[in-house]
């Protein structure tokens, strides 16, 4: 098979899987109980694209390959093709999406087995993969936008998957509405680009970008970034992501950690040569990223819901990635996207495994007739799970070390590279990068702390659920622990794809050579000043500093939470007082939005727009309607039913016609 048909097959398969499981499940309820078949089909429709991705990766010869499926629309001199682009960046993203996606599909077979909506879940997941592949493979902004909206839709459907609970529907609505704001900005950016360049193809945009007026470039990049803040949960549009944890846990792992939320980074990396032309906006991006990172990290310290800790951690890590983008190191952002997909995917799946186990405890308690309301996601009722769930515990610990930046784990390399790039950019005379660097260091420390806190509270210490002496959870089935191990291994070794500059002068930094524009890749990067030879000492110091910070954070949390357990939180609350309350209340973002936006809009709707619509618009329309109907009944009386009258009407018509023809 040639590349074109391979690419189209990889994109079409998830769609076909979604259509098949969705339609057959919808119209043939008997099919819904074939869970093994549904799960296998769904997984294959992602695993085969992954295999295709690997094949394309092996065959890739350093030239972007463009596949044109068909012309989507054409109006005047505007045409948009369903074109797909296979290059270094999209291939890497495709491998992450389908690879992690396939693992999470396998995991879902076990995790969702008892859910009556099993078929629907797999249809949605496959649809998500289809949309995500459109997003990362699209050759123009329109196809990318189609995927962008598609993943948004799937995210909405999956957050509200258990829609009978109003809370979940509200979370889904929140995610969708907040994302609309970002999407609107994205659309505006596309309009501007189309107006000035006449095309939305990446080739045209990136080649013609330099010819645009500086103000235009600033606006485009700014609007694209606003679009990215929606999808990738940055200040000020991050508020939907923590609530999105209402969805099933595999969804949180796939969509809200590994893939969809990183699409904003993908967008910036794809547009990197354009972004680099707007240094002012880059400053903005870096600072927003830094503020988001530290804000989310502080909130994460105070959270007790295991998934919310991970959600804020995701927001924080996304902030790290935007820091990288803001200092012009887009390939590092993508590097972190990749390693983050591994360890955060593993962490979320691990939390799912824990929740699975705690559900079991809840059920057993219910069977014994206890009137307890056990929240299976609350870490305060966990503890000591290490004994009962060894595989989950070990993989969770590995990923915790990885995200904290424990030396030689994947997160160590990617995060250190971000911090180094920030330092280097500051060293080259961009003052704001210093600020970003300092914030990054503090955030890295906090990350190590709160992640180890979540590990210790969950897996170590004493069991804190009721009747813990008799009732205890069991390890999850192999279909769930298998993906955990796979991701854990990747979380360990994934970092070696981007070895830092101190080793062989960066020649072994594979990801830089693969993506970076200086080596013929599609991702541009900022120019930094040449370093003198002694700079390598600084690099070593920074590298060691990164490792030390991780160790300090990890070690401190390990010590205090093993010693004091959950009580240490109270101590923190007392020590930090007002600050801690602010963190625990998430900096009052939700309350602020409620006061500043939601309430005024609703008030306006109720007090002004509703009467206007009811009395003026409806009055006009209804008045017109009644007038027409009055005429109608008037004309009705012409139809007498008497045939002589009909003949007279014909005669009248003859006179009219002849008169008009002869004298007209």
């Amino acid at each position: 098979m040639n590349i074109d048909s391979l690419v189209l097959l990889a994109i079409a398969l998830p769609l076909m899987g979604a259509a098949f499981n969705g339609l057959v499940g919808l119209f043939a309820p008997g099919y819904r109980s074939n869970k093994t078949l549904i799960g296998t089909l769904g997984t294959l429709c992602v695993a085969i694209p992954f295999a295709i991705g690997v094949l394309l990766f092996i065959q890739f010869d350093h030239d972007a390959h463009i596949t044109r499926a068909f012309t989507w629309m054409s109006a005047g001199d505007f045409t948009a093709d369903f074109g797909y682009r296979v290059d270094q960046l999209s291939l890497l993203m495709m491998l992450i999406v389908t690879g992690v996606g396939a693992l999470i599909h396998i995991y879902s077979i076990g995790y969702m087995r008892d859910d009556p909506g099993f078929w629907k879940f797999f249809a949605y997941l496959n649809l998500f993969i289809f949309a995500m592949l459109n997003l990362v493979l699209g050759d123009n902004l329109l196809v990318l936008f189609l995927g962008w909206e598609g993943v948004g839709l799937c995210s909405y459907l999956l957050i509200g998957f258990w829609f009978t609970d109003l809370k979940n529907s509200e979370a889904a609505n929140k995610a969708f509405i907040v994302n609309r704001i970002g999407d609107f900005a994205f659309l505006l950016a596309m309009f501007i680009l189309f107006k000035d360049l006449g095309s939305l193809d990446f080739d045209v945009i990136l080649a013609g970008g330099a010819s645009l007026a500086p103000a235009t470039i600033n606006w485009v990049v700014f609007l694209l970034f606003i679009g990215a803040t929606g999808k990738s949960a940055q200040i000020p549009l991050f508020v939907w992501l923590p609530d999105a944890m209402a969805g099933p846990t595999p969804v949180s792992a796939l969509i809200h950690a590994a893939t969809m939320v990183t699409s904003g980074l993908y967008l910036l990396a794809r547009m990197s040569s354009l972004v680099l032309l707007a240094p002012g906006v880059m400053t903005f991006i870096a600072i927003i990223g830094a503020l988001t990172a530290i804000m989310a990290a502080t909130i994460a310290i105070t959270q007790n819901d295991i998934k919310r800790v991970l959600a804020y951690s995701t927001v924080s890590q996304l902030g790290f990635m935007f820091m990288a983008a803001g200092v012009g190191a887009f390939f590092v952002a993508i590097f972190h996207v990749m390693t983050h997909a591994f360890f955060k995917g593993c962490l979320f799946l691990g939390s799912g495994s824990v929740i699975h186990g705690m559900h079991e405890v809840e059920h057993q308690l219910e069977e014994e007739g206890h009137e307890v309301h056990l929240d299976p996601q609350d870490m305060r009722t966990m503890g000591g799970l290490r004994k009962y769930m060894p595989a989950t515990s070990i993989t969770y610990l590995i990923s915790t070390l990885a995200i904290a930046g424990f030396p030689l784990m994947s997160g160590f390399f990617s995060k250190d590279e971000i911090l180094f790039k920030a330092f280097e950019y500051g060293y080259s005379g961009n003052g704001y990068a210093w600020f970003v660097w300092v914030v990054g260091i503090i955030t890295a420390l906090l990350t190590a702390f709160y992640m180890m806190r979540s590990y210790v509270l969950t897996f170590r210490g004493k069991e804190r659920w009721p009747n813990a002496d008799r009732i205890h959870p069991h390890e999850s089935p192999a279909s769930m622990t298998g993906p955990l191990w796979a991701l854990a291994v990747l979380a360990i070794v994934g970092g070696f794809l981007g070895l830092p500059g101190v080793i062989a002068h960066g020649d072994l930094n594979w990801i830089h050579h693969w993506l970076g524009a200086p080596y013929g890749g599609p991702v541009a990067e900022a120019v930094v000043a040449e370093h003198e030879a002694s700079f390598i000492v600084v690099e070593w110091i920074l590298l060691i500093l990164g490792g030390v910070i991780a160790l300090v954070g990890l070690g401190y949390a390990w010590r205090v939470y093993n010693r004091d357990g959950i009580e240490f939180d109270q101590k923190l609350a007392i020590d930090f007082r007002g600050l801690y309350t602010t963190w625990a209340n998430k900096y009052y973002w939700d309350e602020g939005y409620d006061k500043a936006v939601v309430k005024p809009v609703l008030g306006l709707a109720r007090r002004v727009m509703d009467p206007f619509d009811r009395y003026i618009v409806d009055g006009l329309v209804n008045g017109l309607g009644s007038m027409v109907r009055a005429f109608s009944s008037l004309f009705k009386y012409l139809q007498t039913g008497v045939v002589q009258n009909y003949a007279v009407a014909i005669l009248f018509g003859v006179v009219l016609l002849l008169g008009l023809i002869i004298f007209g």
Binding site: S632, Q639, V643, L657, I661, G664
Partner: protein, 495 residues
Amino acid sequence: MDLSTAYDALGADLQATLSLWLIVLGGLIVIVWDAFRERDALIPVFAGLILVGAIVWDLFQLTAEPATAFYGLIRTGGFAAFVNLLLEVSALCTIVLSVPYLKRIGKDYAEVYGLVLFAVSGMMLLGAANNLVTIFVGLETMSICLYIMAGLVREDEGGIESALKYFLLGAFSTGFFLYGIALLFGSTGSMYLAEIGHAASTSTSAMYWSGVGLLLVGFLFKVSAVPFHMWTPDVYQGAPTTLTGFMSTASKAAAFASLILVLFYAVPYEKWTLAVAVIATITMVLGNLVALSQRNVKRMLAYSSIAHAGYVLVGIVAGSAEGYAGALYYLLVYTLMNIGAFGVLALMEWDNESGRTQSLDSLAGMGYTRPFIGVAMGVFMFSLSGFPPFGGFLGKYAVFAPAIKAGYTWLVVVGVIASMVSAYYYLRVLYVLWMKDSTDPAAMSNDKRVALTVPASSTAVIGFCAVLLLVFGVYPEFLQMAVDFFSPSAVSIAP
């Protein structure tokens, strides 16, 4: 006329008009068959197969060069094939829908299928006529069959009354029509359309224009344009529902096709356009306005079909190739929408009342008990009111755009406003289907309800119409094809 080569040309002529002869022959066989074996269940199957054969033949003729057969009496080629196909598809759908319907109302006479075939043959003659005599023969063959169909339910007073009215008024209008033919022959000395046009291009007289006017009266009566429309609501309401669908589509299509040929070949002036524009205006306005206040769905669709005749007239007023092509295309989608809508109505007479007396409330909540039919009805109603992406939208565009080009913007404005009004009564059908509860006491009493089965054949036809409407709504290939029928080369063809 030199008849010495008549036998030599006969073979080729028969071949060019094969579908016509096939249908005539089929009709004759059906009548004889029925005489020997009354109500044989195979008769409708046979009639259907005849139509399928004719459809297949005409599909191949679509790309044929325009020509004439039988000494210029009838046209052959793309235009004729297009019109024939439209008529044959309409008849085929009608037969398939009629079999279960007529059986249920106890009127499953096999001669109905013979009548349908004869009517189609008359329409095909009319729609492809190149000579005033052919037009008249076709018109009358068609009309007589329709008179009988309209009165098929003999026990029903309303049905009989409307059939008699139809016959009386039909005869009345035929009188005008014949007078028009006589005047045209008198003023130009020919019965051939192109020769009439040729003669008229040098000089015209009041006699010529009177002839054109009276001829128009005959056509406008058949297409039920206001004020020649008075028979329409009564007849459509009284006739068996599936046959109403046939009458409202095929007979109009044939009459319009013939009108287009007459205007295109025999009237090389624009003097008639104002008159037709005025007729079109009052047709659209009155048809839509009166449809608003109808309680009976069939009567409502009757007024709607009057209004649609007005839209087609807008395309004709444009007087250009695009306008005529648009009118033809509109007839195509209109046929699909109306056959489908009447087919759905035929399935919904489930409160044991015939369509003549059934009110809109009888359909309450049907969308949920019969979702397929409900959705299909949705397609027909949206298409009739001209919503994209259905065929009705593209059809309206195809007739309105040429009219604007020809300078009749005011007419198009009236048309658009009128079709806006029409959305009210079309969407009301959907409102009743989907948003009213069938258990609503105001809607109907439960004891009258009978369980109706929906035959697979009817479902297939309704689905076919709905899908084609979607296809024609996004794929205007036929429209382009129709434009070519009126290319300059087509004009130059001698009689």
